[in-house]
């Protein structure tokens, strides 16, 4: 009996130790942070990443258009099964925004989902995709953020229920689902497809909406970009693999033209949250839009992820 109690006690302590280790926020390795800090960031190149990454779609004020999209005062609300997330102020204001951040703070947020205070971010902030970005792009994007205006609008708290309101628990989620590895392995080296893969799986974070998730918010395996229930409202987010009954029949140039103009081959248009995403994609170079299209055409066929 005594031995059993001792055994249980050891197991509980060991379990707690493992849980503590697993849920502990892990910033980017010091050597990589140093390498990023050593890069002289190019703000003009960073602007392309800003649009590719869709930063303004969540962090500009709701409904902002034109130059107002560069004022990242936050406030867009993202409804989900776990509660409502409110995008924070990430303008250059040193108090209300991220103007006081170092490049290391920025890299830890983007690549590791860890805040300057050492806490986990919720993956509503798609660091789960941004983690695939390279050092140069992180440095360039940070340089562009430095050029943006400041707003003193205070960030609002997320409205998240128990147990998801315990940030530490996100360590367990990250342990299960957070990885910087490619989502698909495509045969043969092709620089255009590789560029498309980088844009889609990294900064573009297309899979965050276009891939179905399980009950605790991890991606369903073998369903990459196969479409999903709309997390933020009615309807679905389309399947964008060659297995899609709609988009699967589009040519590479159809996809590129859609990203440029918002028009489908039938001259229907983008709708829902894709309207804003398409406007962002229109700011990329035609070469980058072609690369995204090439990657989507090269994906394995998948049945609709929401069915």
């Amino acid at each position: 009996m005594k031995r059993l109690a001792l055994g249980l006690g050891v197991a509980v302590v060991a379990g707690a130790g493992i849980a503590f280790a697993v849920t502990s926020p892990r910033p980017v390795a010091a050597e990589r942070l140093d390498a990023i800090a050593a890069i002289d960031g190019d703000a003009a190149a960073g602007e392309t990443l800003f649009w590719a990454g869709g930063c303004a779609s969540c962090h500009a004020a709701p409904g902002a258009e034109g130059d107002a999209k560069l004022m990242l005062s936050g406030g867009v609300r993202l409804a989900s099964d776990f509660g409502t997330f409110v995008a924070p102020n990430i303008s250059s204001d040193p108090e209300a925004g991220i103007g006081g951040w170092s490049i290391a703070d920025f890299a830890n947020a983007m690549l590791a989902g860890v805040s300057p205070r050492g806490e986990h971010y919720y993956p509503a902030f798609p660091y789960t995709s941004y983690t695939r970005m390279n050092d140069r792009d992180i440095a360039d994007l940070f340089a562009f953020f430095k050029t943006l205006p400041s707003s003193d609008v205070a960030s609002l708290p997320h409205q998240i229920g128990f147990p998801f309101n315990i940030r530490r628990s996100l360590g367990g989620w990250k342990f299960l689902f957070f990885s910087d590895q490619p989502h698909v392995t495509l045969g043969g080296p092709d620089t255009e497809i590789a560029r498309g893969q980088y844009l889609v799986e990294g900064p573009g974070h297309c899979g965050e909406c276009h891939t179905p998730r399980n009950l605790i918010g991890g991606f369903v395996s073998d369903a990459w970009l196969s479409g999903a229930q709309n997390p933020d409202g009615e309807g679905v987010i389309p399947n964008i693999t060659p297995g899609s009954k709609s988009i699967g029949g589009w040519s590479k140039s159809d996809i590129a033209y859609y990203l440029e103009s918002g028009f489908t081959p039938d001259f229907d248009s983008a709708g829902g949250s894709m309207v804003d995403v398409q406007k962002n994609m229109a700011k990329l170079t035609s070469g980058d839009r072609d690369a995204i299209a090439a990657y989507l055409k090269a994906l394995p066929k998948r049945d609709n992820g929401w069915e």
Binding site: N230, G233, E234, G235, V236, I237, P238, K245, S246, S261, G262, F263, D266, F267, D268, S269, A270, G271, G272, S273, V275, D276, Q278, K279, N304
Partner: protein, 148 residues
């Protein structure tokens, strides 16, 4: 024998009648209307892209089609047509009727402005096409929700 005749009559009736009903459903009517807009938009887009020659008459015809559709499009969203027939109409059409009607009115006004300007060359078409087709995404962002 009698049952068989009735059954056959019912089958023929269903086959003949069902499509007739479907074609009158507001969901189907409005889908066909949007397809007409897509066709008109495509005709102009091909000229804008340089895939076809600028054609003043075809441009005017396309703008007129869009104006005519926009004039009555809002009439085909009665209560009870929120679902069915693969409609992609968003609930916001019924919860924000005024906003929806205003979006259609703006679409018609932009088409009518294009007709009034009567584009005589490609630059004229581009000047009408840009503002007009901005309405597509603006309206679909709120009032259309993909179902597949």
């Amino acid at each position: 024998m009698k049952f068989r005749t009735l059954f056959a009559a019912a089958l023929i009736g269903a086959a003949g009648f069902a499509p007739a009903i479907a074609a009158d459903e507001p969901q189907v009517v409005r889908q066909e209307m949007m397809k007409k807009v897509g066709g008109a938009t495509g005709a102009m887009a091909k000229m804008v892209k340089g895939e076809s020659e600028f054609d003043a008459a075809a441009t005017l015809a396309a703008l007129t089609t869009i104006s005519e559709v926009a004039a009555t499009f809002g009439n085909y969203f009665p209560e009870g047509s929120e679902t069915g027939m693969e409609t992609e109409a968003a609930a916001a059409i019924w919860s924000d009727r005024a906003g929806f009607e205003a979006a259609i009115a703006k679409f018609k006004a932009d088409a009518d402005a294009g007709i009034a300007a009567a584009p005589a060359d490609l630059d004229g078409l581009k000047a009408a096409f840009g503002p007009l087709t901005k309405n597509c995404g603006t309206c679909h962002e709120t009032y259309r929700q993909k179902k597949s």
